[in-house]
């Protein structure tokens, strides 16, 4: 069998290798282009409070969390952790900010009351802030350093270990 004929079966091999590579990728994991980029600035009308602007928080590490009252069970799982993180680190200058996505005010307030949120939360009318941060769904959490750069993005409910590690890194950061 001449080498030319062997070409036909051999032509299939690269395709098979490519498909095998496919097992190593996760079609659902979309990397964010905002990592290590300056976080998009925004102004938010906080529930029961004044306005909050992200630029105004420069100099402090920020944990920015996107949540919704209809987001079950993940947002419900991480809510206590958000509040406890806020209470633990606020004296060290860490800000926890929550953005309520595509929600009704009554439901949002109920959610905040249920988990005793004392950190600033606000609605996102028109989902402008969510889109600006490339948010796919809820919950998503962004860790922002003192210079206002996004150091880490987490999709899904946060865990204590993750928060610990990231906040420490932010505090130690330049």
């Amino acid at each position: 069998m001449s080498w030319k004929k062997a070409l036909i079966p051999l032509a299939c091999v690269p395709v098979i290798i490519l498909l095998a590579y496919g097992f190593r990728t996760d079609p659902r994991a979309i990397p964010s282009p905002l990592l290590r980029q300056p976080a998009p600035g925004f102004r938010m009308a906080v529930f029961d409070g004044a306005e909050l602007s992200l630029e105004g928080l420069k100099g402090k590490p920020v944990l920015l969390n996107f949540w919704a009252s209809w987001c079950y069970p993940a947002c419900y799982e991480e809510a206590p952790l958000l509040e406890s993180t806020w209470r633990k680190y606020k004296d060290q200058g860490v800000m926890v900010v929550g953005v309520d996505v595509q929600d009704k005010e009554a439901n949002a307030r109920e959610f905040m009351r249920r988990f005793n949120f004392t950190f600033p939360n606000g609605p996102d009318p028109g989902s402008k802030i969510s889109i600006d941060f490339g948010v796919y769904g809820v919950p998503e959490t962004f860790f922002i350093d003192r210079e206002g750069r996004i150091t880490y993005k987490h999709v899904g409910a946060i865990t204590p270990a993750l928060v610990e590690a990231q906040v420490q890194a932010l505090l130690k950061g330049k």
């Binding site: 004929k5 079966p9 095998a20």
Partner: protein, 659 residues
């Protein structure tokens, strides 16, 4: 108990198929008829065992035996019985069992029908079909066992995705699987012909009907899937170039190319290697498609993936590709047909171009489907290849195909004389240009639509012209009436005229696709009670919200009063379904489906107190033509594959009626 028994039955079936493969090959090589007889018995035994496995699983499903993990995943106590039955193919393991059962069924039918007549080929055909079955049984035994137990036994099952608990679920997968599995038969015959070193035309004629029937089911499955999407998913479309949709489309394309190019091989004994490559590609694409669906490497609405299944499918795909293409390469000397061509202006050329375009579209779809994977491997970024790409590349090719569809059936074999060209194409061409001109005058200005109509009218013209001339000639020569002549024509030349009807169906569907995508109108508005939304000549008045409990969910719907040009029509009630296990509700479309246009309405959002609702309404002109076209294709294929015996009866009856 069912779990152990079921697992054992599958394992036993695996052993039987492996035995059948061995006995067939050994029996053929040694010339031992008794071994071959034993292998045929093994094929039957294999079918009985797999049928038993199906019975066991269905029994567990119908009696809601939640000790089996599969039953938990695919049904609940409250599910309707027919959906419990359909749970058989609702998830991965059961769908593989169903596929394997169909494979076993086909193998049994093939053995029963052809064992006496094609003694040289049949042992290898058997071996290949049983080998395929062996893979699926292996898969179930080691990767995806439908009889796995779960502990502790839950009180109620999780049930299928609510989108699947519909009548469509009873039809769509079965149609597709019949098509997919059906293509394994011509593939097996082709491989057997190569193995025995007798790649004559024999294998083509034997499997011709199988191939066309498999193609019919696959076509039916694809059209049905689009129809189901359209009525259910709520975005008003029917095809999203989703990887799994593409996976069903690719074998359809090569299968269509195969059906056409075998006509050249039958007549002129040319293109032998090419036909073998085509059927191998078709079957490989079938396996590739099911690999995509079950491996999870490309995200898709359809994908249901798990564990080692993907790797096993890839290994099987690799095996098939390497095995069959090596065989083709090995035997390629014997396959050199003596090709002769009189002229490029001939039906042979038209068929060659047909193949070029169809395989070209298939290549494009394949490239687009795996390109994100390639880009990620090379560049490390995730990209998307979606509708804009596929449309941009396949629309021009589709137009070229339309043109060929008109030319092909009427152009002469060998060498088309100027007379032949003039006689057959003058009137259709004039009619097409005239029709397009009329449309232009009536206000149709988009180039795409005009071009599509021009070509569709051309094809329509050739079909009508051919039918008219042939009927008239026949009526004149035999003295039958026009109707009698027409019927006899259909029955005597069923392959040709059935094929023409299929082309007609394709044209109807393409007109539906072109018009509905270009002239679609939509409008979304939030309405308070009493307010109206207008879209085109229609007006929808929001009369209020209502809610009700259903067996499996809570339904919230909007009462809308539709009127056209001021005249009230009827109520439409689009809604949302809230299922206990699901985070977000599923939309419930309501529409007025009409042959010339659809008024399609969904409820996007609503206020809990019923004070307002956001309604999205769209007009899809001529979209029903797509489904009607599918029906015509079905009709055409049935005409084309009608067997001889029925033919004679029908023809006698027709003549008696005409007299």
């Amino acid at each position: 108990m069912i779990s152990t028994l079921g697992g054992f039955v599958l394992f036993f079936a695996l052993c039987v198929t492996l035995y059948a493969v061995a006995a067939s090959v050994a029996g053929a090589r040694a010339g031992r008829e008794d071994w071959l007889a034993s292998s045929r018995n093994a094929v039957l035994a294999h079918f009985c065992l797999v049928t038993l496995a199906i019975f066991l699983l269905e029994y567990a499903l119908i009696t809601s035996d939640f000790s089996l993990r599969y039953v938990v995943n695919t049904s609940t106590r409250g599910s309707l019985t027919r959906y419990k039955i359909a749970g058989l193919w609702g998830s991965l393991e059961g769908s593989i069992l169903l596929w394997e059962w169909l494979q076993a069924l086909m193998a049994t039918l093939v053995v029963a029908r052809y064992s006496d007549r094609h003694r040289l080929l049949m042992p290898y055909v058997q071996a290949i079909l049983q080998g395929i079955s062996a893979f699926f049984l292996l898969l179930m035994t080691f990767g995806a066992n439908p009889f796995t137990r779960v502990f502790p036994i839950p009180l109620d099952g999780r049930g299928l995705n609510p989108l699947l608990e519909v009548t469509d679920m009873l039809v769509h997968p079965l149609l597709l699987y019949l098509g997919y599995v059906g293509f394994s038969v011509p593939f097996a015959f082709a491989m057997a012909a190569l193995i025995t070193g007798r790649p004559s035309e024999e294998w083509l004629t034997i499997t011709r009907r199988w191939t066309v029937v498999a193609w019919l089911f696959l076509t039916g499955g694809i059209f049905y899937g689009g129809w189901w999407s359209y009525r259910t998913l709520g975005w008003g479309g029917y095809w999203a170039w989703d990887p799994v949709e593409n996976a069903s489309f690719m074998p359809w394309l090569t299968g269509t190319a195969f059906i056409h190019s075998v006509m050249i091989q039958e007549r002129k004994r040319m293109l032998k290697v090419w036909n073998l490559i085509l059927i191998t590609l078709t079957f490989s694409l079938v396996i590739f498609g099911t690999f995509l669906t079950r491996s999870g490497i490309l995200g898709s609405v359809h994908a249901f993936a798990d564990g080692p299944v993907g790797i096993m499918f890839l290994a099987f795909l690799a095996l098939i590709l390497l095995f069959s293409f090596s065989l083709v390469a090995y035997r390629s000397d014997r396959l050199k047909g003596h090709g002769e061509l009189d002229s490029i202006v001939s039906r042979e050329s038209a068929f060659l171009l047909n193949n070029l375009v169809l395989v070209g579209i298939c290549f494009t779809v394949f490239l687009g489907t795996i390109f994100p994977l390639l880009a990620e491997a090379i560049r490390g970024t995730k990209i998307s290849v979606g509708t804009p790409y596929f449309n941009r590349v396949s629309v021009p090719l589709g137009m070229a195909l339309l043109l060929l569809m008109g030319i092909g059936p009427l152009i002469a074999w060998g060498r088309a004389s100027l007379n032949n060209l003039k006689r057959n194409f003058l009137w259709p061409s004039l009619a097409a240009v005239a029709g397009a001109g009329i449309l232009y005058v009536l206000g149709v200005r988009q180039t795409e639509v005009l071009l599509a109509f021009l070509l569709c009218l051309f094809v329509l013209g050739t079909v009508v012209f051919e039918f008219t001339v042939a009927t008239r000639t026949r009526a004149k020569t035999t003295g039958e009436g026009m109707l009698g002549a027409f019927t006899t024509l259909l029955l005597k030349g069923r392959r040709r005229y059935g094929g023409l009807i299929v082309h007609l169906g394709v044209v109807v569907a393409i007109i539906g696709i072109a018009v509905s995508s270009v002239y679609k109108v939509e409008h979304e508005q939030t309405l308070k009670q009493g307010e109206s939304l207008s879209v085109g000549p229609y007006s929808l008045r929001f009369d209020g919200l209502a809610a009700g409990e259903r067996p499996t969910h809570i339904l919230v719907w909007a009462n809308l009063m539709a009127s056209k040009n001021g005249k009230p029509l009827h109520e439409l009630t689009p809604g949302q379904r809230f299922y206990p296990n699901q985070q977000t509700p599923f939309g419930s479309v309501d529409a007025r489906y009409h042959w010339n246009e659809d008024l399609y309405v969904i409820l996007s959002a609503f206020e809990r107190d019923g004070s307002s609702a956001t309604i999205k309404a769209m007009i899809n002109p001529m979209i029903s033509w797509i489904w009607i076209g599918g029906g015509v294709i079905l009709l055409g294929v049935i005409v084309a594959v009608l067997p001889e015996r029925h033919l004679a009866m029908l023809s006698l009856r027709a003549r008696a009626q005409a007299a």
